[in-house]
């Protein structure tokens, strides 16, 4: 199993743990990742809120490179994944748009590459049972609320991945890693996404709802598969606690970090040391690291 790898801008900066842990976990499972040569930014929310053609052209530049590589493309970041599959979907439906985009990107797009989220690769392509077999240090006693966010599962006819109202792939992976997947209602409630700068108050309110729901349902920590969600829940947790007078101190892990641990990898190599909310203390308490 070999995939082309599209890290996305945030995985080079604030979400470098996600990049480290994804590479490490995939390597441990024997899945090869080949970084897309000279990839560029997918434009995220800013592009599609400003210009439709730009919103499709930017991801297509990367898709054209991926088609030359001839491998299916893994996009760990939920926003990049959403933008890539939306571009593919729009071009599939509108040949005129496809022609315009090819003119802009100066490259031919055949639509042969399938874009996949990390969860899809691990749970569907690789298989939850195979992951369970390879787990050496099960995360016994860890109660995890798996948080999917919105862009990973919506709109369903475009993302074509899991279920928009009650997704279960991350829960399955959490169970496979030996931890306990907590039943909680805010799996796909939005965290505020790109308002991290413009309207921080909105991000704090929405993230607080999510943290409160996780806590009230007995979760020790939250697992995510999206750098934006992790950033809002993890980096702003202190400000949220001050703003709403609540105490969470709830580590926000990437699913690839938890799986890496369960596969026996070294916490440091998974980027576990550099979270805003201290992420190793909980693991040590539960003798998991």
């Amino acid at each position: 199993m070999r995939y082309a790898y599209y890290p996305g801008c945030s995985l080079e900066g604030t979400a470098k743990e996600y990049d480290l842990s994804t590479r490490a976990t995939f390597r441990a499972l024997g899945i090869e990742l080949e970084e897309l040569p000279d990839w560029s930014c997918c434009g995220a929310s800013s592009a599609h809120t400003t210009n439709h053609l730009l919103a499709v052209a930017l991801p297509t530049r990367n898709l054209v490179i991926a088609e030359k590589q001839g491998l299916d493309l893994v996009a760990p970041c939920a926003a990049c994944f959403n933008r890539l599959v939306t571009a593919q979907h729009k071009m599939e439906q509108d040949a005129r748009l496809k022609g315009k985009v090819e003119q802009v990107v100066e490259g031919e797009y055949q639509g042969t590459v399938k874009v996949k989220a990390v969860l899809e690769v691990l749970a569907t392509d690789f298989g939850v049972e195979k992951v369970r077999e390879m787990v050496t240090k099960p995360l016994k006693g860890l109660r995890v609320a798996s948080y999917y966010g919105c862009l990973l599962v919506r709109p369903p006819e475009v993302t074509k991945f899991d279920d928009p109202e009650n997704p279960t792939t991350m829960d399955a992976l959490v169970e496979a890693s030996g931890a306990e997947a907590v039943m909680w209602p805010h799996k796909t409630e939005c965290c505020g996404g790109s308002f991290a700068f413009a309207r921080v108050d909105i991000v704090e309110k929405l993230s607080n709802d999510i943290l409160a729901a996780a806590k009230s349902n007995g979760a020790d920590c939250i697992a995510t598969a999206c750098p934006l969600c992790q950033a809002n829940l993890d980096m702003r947790q202190k400000a949220i606690e001050k703003q709403f007078g609540t105490t969470y101190n709830m580590p926000i892990y990437y699913i690839t970090e938890l799986l890496g641990l369960a596969l026996g990898l070294e916490p440091r190599s998974l980027g576990l040391g550099t979270h805003m909310v201290e992420s190793l203390r909980l693991l040590r308490e539960k003798e998991l690291a």
Binding site: D163, P164, E165, N166, P185, S216
Partner: protein, 652 residues
Amino acid sequence: MCWCGSNIASTVDLDRVQKAVEKLTNVVHVEQNKYTCSEPGQAQIVAGIREHNLDRVVVAACSPRMHEKTFQRTVAKAGLNPYLLEIANIREHCSWVHTSVEEATPKAIDLLRAAVAKVIRNTPLTTSTIPVEKRALVIGGGIAGIQAALDIADAGHQVVLVEKEPTIGGRMAQLDKTFPTLDCSACILTPKMVDAAQHPKIRLLTYAEIEEVGGYIGNFEVTIRKKARSVNEDVCTGCGICWSKCPSKAPNEFDCGLGERKAIYIPFPQAVPNKPVIDRENCRYFTKGKCGVCKKVCPAGAVDFEQEDELLRERFGAIVVATGYELFDHSVYGEYGYGKYPDVITGLEFERLINASGPTGGKLKRPSDGKIPKTVVFVKCVGSRDEAKGFPYCSRTCCMYTAKQAILLREKMPEAEAYVFYMDVRTPGKGYEEFYTRATEEFGVNYLRGRVARIYPKGDQLVVRGEDTLVGAQVEIEADLVVLATAMVARRDAAELAQRIGFSYDQYHFFTEAHPKLRPVETNTAGVFLAGACQGPKDIPDTVAQASAAAVKVAMLFSRDELETNPMVATVDEGTCSGCEWCKPTCPYGAIDIKTIEERVGKRTVSRRVATVNTGLCQGCGACTVACRSGAMNLKGFTNEQILAEVEAICL
């Protein structure tokens, strides 16, 4: 030529048409009329026939499916054989679907030329008669079927009422109270059920299904499969010892699975006939081969494990289909929990919970933990008015029964709070609006205008998130119980039953009536009538009205000893028929037989085989005329000559 007010005249230049048609051979007189189907219009035709000594008439107006019979009667009044008439459809097929006069006028001329070409080849036809079996079959033992059966039987005709479940009563038996008068459903239904059971002219066939239907109006041959009850109905007295002693239990479908019943059971106490049935999947005797307690304790020795399905073949003159409806499967709604939250129930389940003969004896207990709910939220239009996941139509009854259920809740438990999420409150019937106002004013039901976006568990309660669009704000309710008013949909096997009997159904599998406004209880198949929700969502008052209407239609049919048959049947030209029988296998009604005729050839009389058509059985579909290569088989009213003439007239 008819103006049809302006419907035709506005896009067809009838003067130009008249000029063109007057030149056609055989056309001796052309006139226009503003409303041909009106009395004066018809009188004009009769006068025209007499004055010009016409022997053929073409009426260029609306669809023959609309007024062919009217004009046939008009022509007959003038002494002309009614079948010497043809209709050119220049309204539905021409003026209404083409915008410019330049397009519609030449087309109207072509259609008229074709009608003239056909009518000059029409031959006078006379109807023959067939006997009518004065016995009616009613399929479905709900209130619609019971009402229809009672009315037909009271009109003095024999009725067989077939019901799939072990008892009649249908959906209505499951309800607690009925709107708008709040009288108890069982109190008004059970007397009718008993009447139906005891009526000398009605024979109840419960736990039975329709296997096969052949024949046609007046002479249906129906095969009914009487499923094995494993209880001999004649001997059983319904004493109930067997189901009190039966060891194995199973979820009771009648209570939507909320309550339990034994393997040998009657669905509900007032079941008619109150003879039990053995559910062979859950009965220990049938699954594991041991037990048989019921047989031992039965004082009348009615239990008979060896009983087999019975196939009854019966003849009927008319069929009333009253098979009712099902509820929409709300598990498609992820946002309402995919049907997995135990305290998110349907309206029917709510009826069972508050019903005295229900699983909780009438006390409203939550299915999850049996607690009495303090806050109940009713959500309307679940599956209705929703193209994305449900059906686009409105199910008509949910507004009223949700108001009723809210009232019952507040009446029984004044301390409970009732919320109703709605988009509109539709109260179309008599006393309906007043009933709704009682709900809001007298019983303080909180009506919130907005569709619920999401229901999710929080602790042991359910958070219902919606928007009150009148205030323009998001609202949230921590509810103990949520009742979904799910859409009324056609039964799963509706299409199959329709195909078996031979009438059509629409894209939602509701049965298609002959005409939505003018013939709501008839189908396009003569002799088959509809009543109740199987034809479309409707409440009990409309259902009963339709049932009585269908009954009158049946009584009308049986008022005559013989039935006029359709004269447009197949006919054999014995001179050209080779007796090859290629036509025989194509006839769906088995109306073609082979007979031997004698004829003189030279000096000798020789016998020869030719086909012959039983005009009573033939329905005039014409399949045999194409199988007959030599053209010996022809169809009156649609002969080969006529259709070829129409093709050529159009192509000139």
